[in-house]
Symmetry: C2
Subunit: 446 residues, 2 copies
């Protein structure tokens, strides 16, 4: 018998690779944080001597979910700027609060709360874009969470950096610090075409080429952004990025609610990826990314929740459902995008988008054991006539029972292992009280 | 001190009437199944001597949700007919299975499973449309659930009735049996304009007038339905219903994804209600009901999940979120429909649509104590910067901790009181095995 650290047996295993496969009564064997094998449970119990054996008789075992775009610490602002379009939401709702409050303590407390929610929802990797990315990286590493931390770049001075060059320099130091880290990777995260200059984008592109890092930015989020770019630069934002050499397989175009034929050509021709954030796009009235058009052209699409201030949760399972409903109902027809496609987008395509497709995102021997387990024996997902449909269209993220990152269990039987959840919630509440008191003070000043 | 049966104190109380109100640290006092008062907790503990006192310090207490359109027993078929448009979904997916399997045992087992899910999701009243409505009524009454049971009418012969007149006659007997029942009410449920004749609709209308019952039917669910009606009857389905005298405050038009100016005029002019089922409509590629247009004309709109075979859950909280996202993103603009509007649609408007607006749907003294409690102190809804947004855009239905119908607690601290959940799930699984075996047999016959 071959020794392994952990053997998890489940009623159903969805490996994502091969695509759409449902394995019944299978097990995943884990050693040194990596998947050793995916095989029938009966065989596994003969072949492996595990230190820890976990039975999940009414559960799906599958790759952990990948949230390919969020602003984790914004969970502290959820509900603070309701009922606004993106423009006023940023200008009047979010930015004034962020200018006043965002500091390393805020980012740490917010990121911890976000990770608690993510792990509870089966997410094993998130791509972040927020000030103080070194705090995001440290917080994720401390609680053994996988993160692709965005090296934020903008022209606007903030508490973190005064100039675009300072953003980039601080980002480069962070990248060097986590180079080769098993959990934390980095990518460039210029904010958006409308907030970053040509010169800065060109510098980001040179560094990204040199260091082989993804470049993720908000692109074509709203019609306003297109108009502004056409007026100022004489072309659409994506065309401007292409002219600066940024349309490449490293490009991660977040949102893309505005798509014309030329944009599709650029994305398809360059091998760029798109991150679809349907709930935030709908809630902010930004538009709908035409998912079936992108997939029809072979463009890789991953899923993101965006920040919780425009969602208002970080639930990738729910985001996949919304993406599927929208694709069936609006952009295309039922059957053009099936539940297993949505699961692949929520896992493997997310990993690939972040440059992590060789190491996570599917249950393949040699990859990190980034997994989650979902109990389907609940009234809302029972009986299971179709496993993929039960996961995508039925399951609530609260049915996730266990989450592993690199073989380490971050949630065991619905209890978080590395986060003191009560303390995390209490710190979030203290931030709410601070916001509230300052609003009351501001009102009494008037 | 005045004796009451139950006193529930919560961090937040959302009474729905007055509209949009948030009451902090309030309590609801209950006697003989009815709400006695909604008042500050501090006052309540001085004024009332409750037999049972329940503290919910991090929870919202609000009216139970109303699922204004479902086919409860269809939960057994969830996942059985994926990736199809409405037409083939019915013809090739659902109807063959229903013809073979639907009998009183199927309806009882399916309805019990549905009620388990509904109660877990905070729903205290559902409007049903399914064969064997007497089984639905009996099942709901046995587990103390509120239901408005549809008296199904169609021209198609089934195991339950052979002719439209037999449907109506059986329905009338059921209506008489439950007349005055505190939990079970009835409404006419002709299937759809395309499956019920003019003569039958006219008879339904005469009886509905006489007995003052709502008439709920699928109307304008798809573009196909409009075309078929124009070809066969020379007019749109809603216009045909109007010509038969059915456009009245009793009309409950389910779906309404196809709306022209004349349809809006008919709905607004007649005082009819619409039940919006966005997830089913999207999943079946049926279209999107233009909610803001309806609300702009003062048409009452309630929310329904439709059956779980096209959803795939019975989660009204999730349905309200989808309705809100769609309204912000597609039909209108952010802010045209705010979270408290969605909560009212998911509660009081549902009750009003079913003719129950005077007795349930809001926290008003004298109404039945139909309530639910949602724990917001969870990572996905914390901190609470906006209570309505936390409930509609953040909370998962699994955060519902308690559900009361007419003052009786059907779920206490997340445990169902009147249903043996393990047995309900096991019976559902045995139906799945029967479907599966018959599919295997059918395949081996080929």
């Amino acid at each position: 018998m071959e020794p392994v650290d952990t053997l998890i047996s489940a009623r159903w295993v969805l490996p994502v690779e091969p695509d759409g496969r449902v394995l019944e009564d299978h097990a995943v064997a884990i050693r040194n944080g990596r998947i050793v094998a995916v095989l029938p449970s009966a065989d596994a119990h003969v072949r492996y001597a595990p230190q820890e054996s976990i039975q999940r008789p009414s559960h799906v075992l599958m790759p952990g979910l990948v949230n390919a775009h969020t602003h984790a610490a914004m969970v502290l602002l959820r509900g603070r700027a309701e009922n606004l379009r993106l423009g006023p939401w940023l200008r009047d709702g979010v930015w004034p609060l962020e200018r006043r409050w965002v500091d390393p303590e805020y980012v740490r407390d917010g990121t911890e709360l976000a990770i608690a929610e993510l792990v509870r929802g089966g997410v094993t990797c998130f791509a972040d874009m927020h000030l103080w990315p070194e705090v995001v990286a440290r917080t994720a590493a401390e609680v053994h969470m996988r993160a692709s931390v965005g090296l934020v770049v903008t022209e606007a001075a903030t508490g973190w950096a005064a100039t675009a060059d300072e953003y980039i320099d601080r980002g480069m130091r962070l990248r060097d610090e986590y180079r080769g880290d098993p959990l934390v990777s980095t990518h460039f995260a210029p904010h958006a075409p409308y907030s970053v200059s040509d010169a800065t984008l060109a510098r980001v592109r040179r560094l990204a080429d040199e260091l082989d890092l993804p470049v993720a930015l908000h692109v074509h989020e709203t019609a306003w952004e297109i108009e502004q770019s056409e007026q100022k630069f004489g072309r659409r934002p994506l065309a401007r990025l292409a002219s600066l050499g940024l349309a490449s397989p490293q490009l991660v175009a977040i949102h893309m609610t505005q798509l014309e034929a030329q944009d599709l050509d650029t994305l398809a021709g360059s091998g760029a990826s798109v991150v679809h954030c349907p709930e935030s796009n709908l809630k902010l009235g930004a538009g709908v990314c035409p998912l079936p058009s992108l997939l029809g052209r072979g463009v890789r699409v991953a899923l993101g929740t965006d920040g919780a201030a425009s969602n208002n949760d970080l639930d990738i399972l729910g985001e996949a459902r919304t993406a599927g409903l929208l694709a069936s109902g609006i952009s295309a027809t039922p059957g053009s995008l099936i539940a297993s496609d949505l699961l692949r987008m929520a896992t493997l395509e997310g990993a690939r988008t972040l440059g992590l497709g060789e190491t996570t995102g599917s249950l393949v021997a040699g990859k990190w054991a980034d997994l989650c387990c979902i109990d389907l024996q609940q009234p809302r997902t029972w009986p299971v006539n179709d496993v993929h449909a039960a996961v995508i269209y039925g399951a609530s993220s609260s049915q996730v029972t266990d989450t592993w990152v690199a073989g380490r269990r971050l949630m065991a039987d619905r209890a978080l292992v590395y986060l003191d959840e009560a303390a995390v919630l209490e710190r979030a509440e203290s931030w709410r009280r601070r916001f509230e008191n300052s609003r009351v003070e501001a009102a009494s000043d008037d």
